[in-house]
Amino acid sequence: MGFLAPWFLGGLAALGVPIFVHLLRRHVTTPRPVSSLMFFERGIQSSTRHRRLRYLLLFALRFSLVLVIVLAFANPFVRRVSADANGRLLLIVLDNSFSMRAGARFRDAKQQALELLTKKPHTQKAQIMALGGQLEVLTQPITDEAQLRAALEGIEPGDGHASFGELGRELRTMSESSHSPADMHLFSDMQHSAMPANFADMVMPSNIKLLLHQVAQGDSPPNWTVESVNAPAELSDPKDPKRSRVTAVIAGFNTPAASKTISLVINGKVIASKKVDVPANGRTTVEFSPLDVGYGFSRCEVRIEGGDAFSSDDSSLFAVRRSDPERVLFVHATGDTRSAIYFGAALDAAAHASFALQSVAAEQATDLDPSRFAFVVLSDAVVLPSIFEHALAAYVAKGGSVFIALGTSAAHHERVPLWGSDARDPRDYARSGGAASVGQVDFSYPATEQAEPGRDNGGWATVKVLYAVPVDPAQARVAARLTDGTPLLLEKQMGEGRILLFTSGFDNLTNDLPLHPIFVAFVDRMAHYLSGSEQLSGSRLVDAFVQLRAAAAPVGVSGNVEVIDPDGRRPLSLGEARTIQSFRLQRAGFYQIRFANGRDAVIGVNPDRRESDLAPMSQDLLDLWSGSSSSAPERAPASPSEPQSQPLSLWWYVMLLALLAAMAETGLASRYMSTLREDP
C-alpha cells in the first residue's frame, strides 16, 4: 500500500484541532463560583463521566473524520495483481493486407491472435482491429470472448496496402479521446514497404505499449510481379500501331535472374505469350501489340505464367473499351475559322483519345442534339440560338460537358452562355504594348494534370496571352491564372455535368497557345476529361475511390447508381444506390459500374504493387518501433497478459468512510449540543 499524493499527509497536522478542542481546551475552562456544592452530590460525578464518555466518542469521530479526509487527499492505493490485467486494454491488430496472402502468413497470424485471445483473463477488456487498406475497428473494448473471437475469425485477407503510419495516426487519434493504457499486439509480416516515409508517423502514443508478432521470419521468398501495365482505356482502331499496344513491367523482388513467360489474357483467353528474361532483383518490359479487342468492354490481364511463392500478384487487370471514334461538336463564331483548325489538329494528335471533330457555325447549330456528342466546344460563340442553348443546358444537367472559349466577340456581348455570370471588361494586353503570360497553373486539375511540371511552368510559361475576358469566379474552380491574376481556365459543376471556361480564344489571335506543344497535351487531357471516358475503363488500385455522381447534385434528382463487385454481388443497398456519391474499390478484380448519368464502366482493380515486396523491416527498426533497445525486444511474449501489479486507488472507499464518520459526528454532536427544554 502506498500513497499517490503523499505530500497531502502534511494535512495530518489538522488532527491537532480535535485534540485541542476535546483534550486540551477542557482543562482551561474557567470555573464558575457557586455558594455551595452541597446540592451537587455524587450523582453528578457519574453523569459527568457519562458525558466524558460521549465526549471521547465525539472526539474519536472527529479525529477519524480528519484522518480519513487527509488520507483521501493523499490518495492511498494498493497493488493488485489481478486488477492489473483489467486495467489495461488488450488491443489485437491483425494485418490483413494483400501481402498477408503470401504463404501461410495470414493463417499463422490469425492463429496466434486467437491463442492470445484464449489466454486473456476473463475480466480484461479487449478490442479487435484489422489493418488493411485502412484500420478497421471491429469491436468496442469488451470482455465478451465469444464476440471477440467471432470478430477475429471474421477477418479475411484483403487486397489493401497496409501502412504503419496510418496505424500510428489512428491510434494517436484514439488515445486523445481515451487515455486508458493498452497493450497493442500487432500480428503482421512487418513488411518494409508498409513503413511511412517519416518514422515519426508510426510511433505509438505513450499509453499504448506495442508488442509485435512477426509471422514471417527470415528472408523474404523470391517474388515476381507485374508491376505496371500501360494500356489504352479506350480503343477505336485495334490496328492503330500507336494506340493498340500493351506495355507491362515485370519486376522481381529478392529474385535471381530468371526467364519468365508473360501472357496477355483478354476475356479469359490467352491472346499472346512472350518469354522475357528478368534480371536478378530487376525489371524488364514486355509489349503486346496489337491489342485486338472486340467492341464494348474487354477484361484484360497480363499474367506471369508458372507461379511463384506469392502467386496472387502474378497478374495485373485492366479493362479496354472499344468504340467508334466519338464526335465532338465544335461551335464557332461565323467569322472564326482558324480555331476549329487548331483545335481539330490538336485533337487528332492526341495519343489516348479518339475523337472526330464536327465543326459548325453558331447560327447553324439550331437543330443539333448535343447528347449525341462526347462534349461540346463553344469557340467565341457567345450568341447561340435559343433552342440550342436550351438543349445545351439540359445536356449539361444530365451529365454532358461543354468547353467555352471566349474570343473577341465577348467584348460586344457581356453575357457568357450557360456560365451564369457575365464577362467583365476585356483585357487587351496587346493594346498596351505587351502580353500577359500564364502565371499559375493547377497541375492537379485533370485537364492540366502533370506529374512533374518543369521549370517552364509545365510548358505554360512561354504562352503569350494578348486578350482575355475576366469572369467572376464565384463558385468555379480556377485551374489557371494569368500573371495579373485574371482567371484563364475555370470549371463549374452544373447538375451532373461540368462546364470549362477558357477566357481567351483558340484562334491564334488572342493568344499563341495553339502554337505551343502544351496545347496538344492540354486538348488531349481536356477531351479525355470532358468526355468522361477516363472513368469508364482502365485500371485502378485497391482502395481508390470512384465518383459515382456529381457532388453538387441534390439527392433524388439523379438516377440510381449500380456497382457490381468482382464476385458478382452488389455491395450497395438500395438506399445507398440513391444517395452515395463515391465508392471505394476494396477488392482486386473487375468492377462493373453504372454511373448516375447512365454511363457504364468496367474497371480492373489491382492491389498496390508495394505489397509485392515481401521484405520485412529490419530488426533494428522493429526494436526501435516497439520502444525496446534490448536485443530481445517484446516482439512475441509467451503470455501477453502476464500478471503485473498495478496500483488500485482507494480514494472512493476512504471518502465513503469520511462520509460515514461525518454523518455519525453530525448525529452525535447535534444530540449533545441540543438544549433541553426549560422545566416549567
Binding site: 457557586v34 455558594s35 455551595s36 446540592f39 438544549t675
Partner: protein
C-alpha cells in the same frame, strides 16, 4: 415610591443611611392608612397596676374617680429590641447580578435598623458572624446608634465559612432582654442543624426570624453547557452538566427550602425566603408584624 424598594435600584445607592431612609419612607408611605401602625403618643390601653410598675404611668384621674389604680399606656412607649444576626460567610458574596447576597442582607438590615430606631424608637443591635462572632453592636436607642449600626454593616465583609454553632453560644450571652432576633443567612447547612442551633435564642422570649437570602440562580440555575463549579467557601471544584441542574438540583433546593421552613415554623420561629431580585418590603412587613404581635 415602590420602585425604591427594588434591589437593583438600591444597588446604585452607596450610602446605607440614605438607602435605609429611602426604603423605609417608601415603605411607610405605602402603609399610612393602617390603624395598627400609628407611631405617636397616642393612647393605647389601660392596664391594671401591678407592684413594681412605674408610678409615673398611673392615671391618677382615673384613680380619683374609681379608686382603682391603672396604668395608662401609649403606643409610642411600647418599644422593643431588635437584634440582627448577619451571616458574613464567603457564600454570601455570590451573585448572578447586582446586588450580591451580602449587599441584599445589608439593605435589609439597614432598613430594619432605620425603621426600628427612627420610626419605632426600638433599640437595635447587630451581630456579624461567620464561623465566629466578628462584630457585636449591642442594642441601644442612644443617639448615634443608627450610625454605628450602619458602620458595622459597612465593615461586614464576607469571608470564611458559615458555622452556626460557635456564634450562637455567644448570642446566648448577649441577648438578655426579650426582643426580636433576625438571622439573615443563606443557610447552606443541614436544616436540622440550623434549627437546633438557632432554637436556644428563643429561650429568653425572643422572637426569632430566619431571613433566607438566596440568589435567583441558586434556585433556578441556568447553564448552557457543562462547566466546572467552585465552592466559594471550600474551594472544592466539580464538573456539572446542564441536565443535572435542571432536574435533580432543583428538586434538592426546593426540598431544602421546604424543610427549613417547616422546621423553623415547628420550632416557633418565623421563616422568610428572600430572593435577591425581590423588593425589600417583605422583610420590613415581617418585622412589623412580629413587633405588633409582641406587643
Amino acid at each position: 415610591m415602590q420602585r425604591f424598594l427594588d434591589p437593583e435600584v438600591l444597588a446604585g445607592i452607596s450610602s446605607l443611611d440614605l438607602l435605609a431612609k429611602t426604603v423605609v419612607d417608601g415603605f411607610v408611605a405605602g402603609l399610612h392608612r393602617s390603624p395598627d401602625f400609628g407611631f405617636s403618643q397616642e393612647f393605647a390601653e389601660y392596664r391594671a397596676y401591678s407592684p413594681g410598675d412605674d408610678l409615673r404611668h398611673v392615671d391618677w384621674n382615673l384613680f380619683a374617680r374609681t379608686e382603682r389604680c391603672y396604668l395608662k399606656r401609649y403606643r409610642g412607649e411600647t418599644n422593643s429590641q431588635l437584634t440582627v444576626l448577619l451571616d458574613a460567610s464567603n457564600s454570601m458574596q455570590y451573585t448572578s447580578g447586582p446586588p450580591t447576597k451580602m449587599d441584599y442582607a445589608r439593605y435589609i438590615a439597614a432598613s430594619l435598623f432605620y425603621l426600628a430606631i427612627r420610626n419605632q424608637r426600638d433599640a437595635a443591635g447587630l451581630i456579624v458572624f461567620d464561623d465566629e462572632v466578628r462584630e457585636y453592636i449591642r442594642p441601644s436607642t442612644r443617639p448615634g446608634q443608627l450610625a454605628r449600626l450602619f458602620a458595622g454593616l459597612e465593615h461586614a465583609e464576607a469571608r470564611a465559612r458559615t458555622d452556626f454553632a460557635k456564634p450562637m453560644q455567644h448570642f446566648q450571652n448577649f441577648l438578655h432582654r426579650r426582643g426580636i432576633a433576625i438571622l439573615i443567612s443563606d443557610f447552606y447547612e443541614n436544616p436540622e442543624t440550623i434549627i437546633d442551633t438557632v432554637a436556644p435564642l428563643r429561650f429568653h422570649g425572643n422572637e426569632v426570624v430566619l431571613f433566607h437570602i438566596l440568589d435567583p440562580q441558586e434556585i433556578r440555575p441556568a447553564m448552557k453547557g457543562s462547566m466546572v463549579l467552585v465552592d466559594l467557601e471550600t474551594d472544592q471544584r466539580i464538573e456539572v452538566v446542564p441536565e443535572y441542574t435542571k432536574t435533580t438540583y432543583r428538586v434538592k433546593v426546593d426540598a431544602h427550602i421546604e424543610e427549613l421552613r417547616s422546621r423553623a415554623l415547628g420550632a416557633g420561629m418565623d421563616y422568610q425566603l428572600l430572593v435577591t431580585n425581590q423588593p425589600l418590603d417583605t422583610a420590613l412587613r415581617e418585622y412589623l408584624t412580629l413587633r405588633q404581635a409582641g406587643n
